[in-house]
Homo-oligomer: 297 residues x 2
Amino acid sequence: MTSSGLNQLLGADLYFKCEHLQKVGAFKARGAANAVLQLPAGTDLVATHSSGNHGAALAWAAAEQGLRCKVVMPENAPQVKKSAVAAYGAEIVFCEPTLQARESTLEALVQTSGAHVVPPFDDARIIAGQGTVVPEIVAQCRERGFAPDLIVAPVGGGGLLAGVGLAVSALAPDMKVLGAEPAGADDAQRSFRSGVRVTEQVPNTIADGLRTTLGERNFLLIRDHVNDVVTVTEDAIRQALEYLWQRTKQFVEPSAAVGLAAVMAHPARFRNKRVVVVLTGGNMDIGAAAKLVAGSL
Amino acid sequence: MTSSGLNQLLGADLYFKCEHLQKVGAFKARGAANAVLQLPAGTDLVATHSSGNHGAALAWAAAEQGLRCKVVMPENAPQVKKSAVAAYGAEIVFCEPTLQARESTLEALVQTSGAHVVPPFDDARIIAGQGTVVPEIVAQCRERGFAPDLIVAPVGGGGLLAGVGLAVSALAPDMKVLGAEPAGADDAQRSFRSGVRVTEQVPNTIADGLRTTLGERNFLLIRDHVNDVVTVTEDAIRQALEYLWQRTKQFVEPSAAVGLAAVMAHPARFRNKRVVVVLTGGNMDIGAAAKLVAGSL
């Protein structure tokens, strides 16, 4: 999708890759499908932990293959994401909203049920799956007669950004890849710039999909295949979100606005460029959207 | 656009025609463009009255042709619609929020400026222009290997519904056409069923684009070329709007949800049918959306 109004405002040619229109409303369907399609023979139960979209994606991919699925979710996950996991027939196991609680709850679940774990991002199958967005982008742009100058993708755990970086290196090495991250969850930028993966952070951002810490495989791939990681303020995310709702009429979630926020916050890097911005997901509580507008979230 | 979740829920195959992604964010761009492209030679100023989308559409179409444009708008028009008219370079002339005030203000403006009036709906060029959505629908469905059973379009002044009825009669006479209207602005249904155009009503609906009274040309065409007009409650509009936001991720305005509301309110009429639902526009104040969610609008 494109918006001539936004292009005029920002002095760049933006092409939105609409992963919020993907199955389960997020790019996470790609990685989950890729993982489920290559499970060890005989697997009949998969499990994961997720603040939401990966959980729904795994629930969907498992249901498509006739497998059972359990998803460990923090109690404070958005209602719309809990409902989606349940709607695909997976069982939700609630835990405290910390990475440690998620991991220990998942570990206990595996011990008792023998479930095969499909992690949300630090997994080669997931990273490769998320990277499948790149051949689509390249082909869709080629159909329209151009090659993009760069791709901007949000980074949380780093599954998407690592997959995009890897796929771009292989398929379109002239294209630059930029990660975009909330300043309130800037572990990827600090990791990228220091060369050492930052594992301690207390995320503080409305972009609930990006509150996770960068994975290890993800860090190594991002370090080697991504050109830079930039951060954006919460105000910039809010404004980008409003632009996406009002100008493109796409009801995306806050995490999905972080790429456009990066373009708006760093205009000189994008001026007169052909920029693909990945809109990562659209699973948004209406109530939460109203609170965002009122500035109370 | 399609949503397998909505199809499952409603037992019908819905195909959304996304006029909110049209230029100026509404189907009104079609009629305005058609009118402006056939103005009398020498016209350099056009004018209209509009609660919003037609005003923006005429402003856009005029600007595209290098013409000046004045738009009479009620003071209570949504801010986002006022901003759009201004952004396309038209001059806004405010009036009281009644049809009479709009018409007398426009009449006075024509007297002093000599502007050529392009009415919002009761105009052959506008009706024909709005009807251009039909050949697109027919072609897009044919590409996907099917012919729709019916088209559902909201009706306010009746420009879209009359144009759709007329074009369907000419191009796809086997297809049924259904108008959908808020119960709080049901002049089209009363006119259709009684055979006499109802000209008195005090509209009461959140669907601000449908508060206008059915035009005369529009009534005659709808009477002859439309199969039925159904009404929906405000609650149904609200629920359809939430479905559109959450399931299809399309941030449409309340008027655009009236077609889906009709499908939800009258399921037996649509079961197992291939139904094209026209999403008419997406020009929605974020603040108004928040109020809608809170139930205070």
